[in-house]
Amino acid sequence: MKKNVNINVEYITRVEGHGNIVINVKDGKLETCRLDIVEAPRFFEGMLRGRSVFEAQHITSRICGICACGHTLASIQAAEDALGIIPTEQTTKLRKLLLDLEMLDSHILHIYVLVAPDLLGVKSFVPLIQTHGEVVRRALRMKKTCNDLCDILVGRHVHPISAIVGGFTKLPRLKDIDAMLNMLISIRHDMDETVELAATLKFPEFERDTEYVALVSDDAEYPLLMGDIGSTDGVRMHKKEYRKITNEFVVPHSSAKHTKLSRESYAVGALARFNLNAEKLHPKAKQIASAVGLKPKCINPFLNTVAQLVESVHCLEHATGILEDLKNNPLNYDEEIVVGLNEQRRIPVRAGNGVGAVEVPRGVLFHNYHTDENGAITNANCIIPTNQNTANIEHDMMKLVPEILDKSEEEITLAVEMLVRSYDPCISCSTHLMNVKFVK
């Protein structure tokens, strides 16, 4: 059958930020297949020049409201690497807790509000209030609990206050730790029901082999905050060599740059982490994975949502473990710091070049700062997970569209939108762009 298809989705909905899908099939042949990133560029890297490295966390957190804590952690890691600061064991523990909460919060939002409507056959979560009231209430309850946990730990989730270069400006008291632990335990039941719900959802069957990239490590912990960069094609590099991983290039139709490593594209995110580190997940998360039949190496991109579910269980249990540990080993409150802009030079400053590589909900995030001897930023570079996924999404679309050409234009559009959403793209993040003229 020779078919013509013209699809132009302006502003794909239920994703973070603004993207358009363009598909053009002529006489049964795929001519164009693009994900255009049309988010207004915000020039964060450009704006950071000349600012104190002690302001970088505050500013870069504003790249994204959903993964503000992830940007915070990557920014702090880059700044501390540049300044030569090694965080204390206590600080590292609390940062891991923050990252667990961020991951849980974001995954819940994506699974319930952004993906579930497609699988339940409605246009958004709004009609679900009538038809699936309990599901909506559960989602909002879990989301709010994650948010309230972050409020206690770092002041707020959308843009954390107390997590800064050097440590924390305020540490949770014992009663706060008790409260957090109780809150986490209170959503365990909701998490079980989320797993049950997810098991009933039917995901499209589609496969395309690709390279998956995520942090890897030699210890037994599922690596999120720290590690080397690894891939399913056998690459392993130190985080300082991130540019050899990302190999960015500009394409005219997108204000977000594209990346490639061993093949024409690669993928990051929950599925990539699962494919590389599944054996390090919490036993309860492993159990869920095997119950829903998710096995590494999984090459169905739609199942990224299922990998997020497995990670949610992991993060809930891992965070609970940290809080239980904090109950038995109280925090040292002498580590609370007041730094401001480091006017008092409480933290020693030097010229340097630092890299932060952190697994945030949508995949590995890189921040890189060069600082001068006064701690002012001379060059900045942020490489966001969605940038790394965009080329891979387009290659998926190129394989998927010819396979479903017999369907109606409406069905094809929905399938492609669902594919894009399954990557949980964060387009507001992805346009915060990289600097190609990096001065070595």
Partner: protein, 246 residues
């Protein structure tokens, strides 16, 4: 009473203020129960495109396409509410205005910079009329709820016009100047319940300046603690650079 028709629209921003709405948890259902949300791209696939009673705007206006879009939305909406620093004062996007536009485009996009048009960052009211302002980065939920209630009843909402220090004192925080660091609390509009200082950090001025800042008092504070004016001005420019535009 017929439920008011509401649309939520985003421009250049992090979408964190919309997320603050989702972070209200089950309370969001009572807000949604009293209004009819017809368009909200981040969480809904439904599109409306017709007359609205209330348009809620997040983000700054930074390119020609956005100017056109915000003018269209203004035409369709009886009431327009700007939420978050990006929309109300230009916010962190305003830092771009510290640089030449071509300079910053080339820095970020290299030789391909021509593909990416940009203009000086503007707050929403610098392009179209704004009826209500919810300041803050991110917006403070209790203030958003108070303002929505006022807007639904058609009565004005006035954000506080005294500095953050007032709330900070009531919260019994130790003054950041006494802890030897610089804080923008003395010149920044209150209404956030001194959120950042309560958590051990300084005020960055995200809610914009009070309309009549006590400049003499602020200068005295700087002199007393021996803080260079330049440091304060640089900090003001993080959120407040757009105030220079008319």
């Amino acid at each position: 009473m017929k439920k008011p028709k509401v649309g939520i629209f985003d421009f250049a921003c992090c979408e964190g203020c919309q997320l603050q709405i989702a972070n209200m948890g089950e309370d969001v259902l009572s807000v949604l129960g009293s209004i009819d949300v017809l368009e909200w791209r981040e969480v809904m696939s439904e599109k409306w495109g017709k007359k609205l009673d209330i348009a809620i705007i997040e983000g700054s206006i930074t390119d020609p396409h956005a100017v056109k879009r915000i003018k269209q939305i203004r035409k369709k909406a009886k009431i327009l509410i700007a939420i978050g620093s990006c929309a109300t004062i230009g916010g962190v996007n305003g830092m771009k205005n510290n640089f030449g536009l071509d300079d910053i485009r080339k820095y970020v996009y290299g030789d391909s910079y021509r593909f990416f048009p940009t203009e000086l960052t503007k707050a929403v009211h610098q392009v179209v009329k704004v009826d209500y302002f919810v300041h803050g980065c991110p917006m403070y939920i209790p203030e958003f709820v108070a303002l929505i209630k006022a807007a639904l009843q058609g009565i004005p909402y006035y954000p506080p016009d005294y500095p953050v220090c007032v709330e900070c004192k009531l919260n019994e925080n130790v003054c950041m100047y006494d802890r030897q660091v610089t804080c923008l609390g003395p010149v920044t509009r209150a209404g956030c319940n001194s959120w950042c200082i309560n958590n051990g950090n300084i005020c960055y001025g995200c809610r914009g300046m009070v309309s009549n800042p006590n400049e003499k008092g602020a200068q005295d504070v700087l002199a007393k603690y021996n803080i260079p004016m330049e440091l304060i001005l640089n900090k003001m420019n993080m959120y407040n650079k757009c105030r220079e535009l008319t």
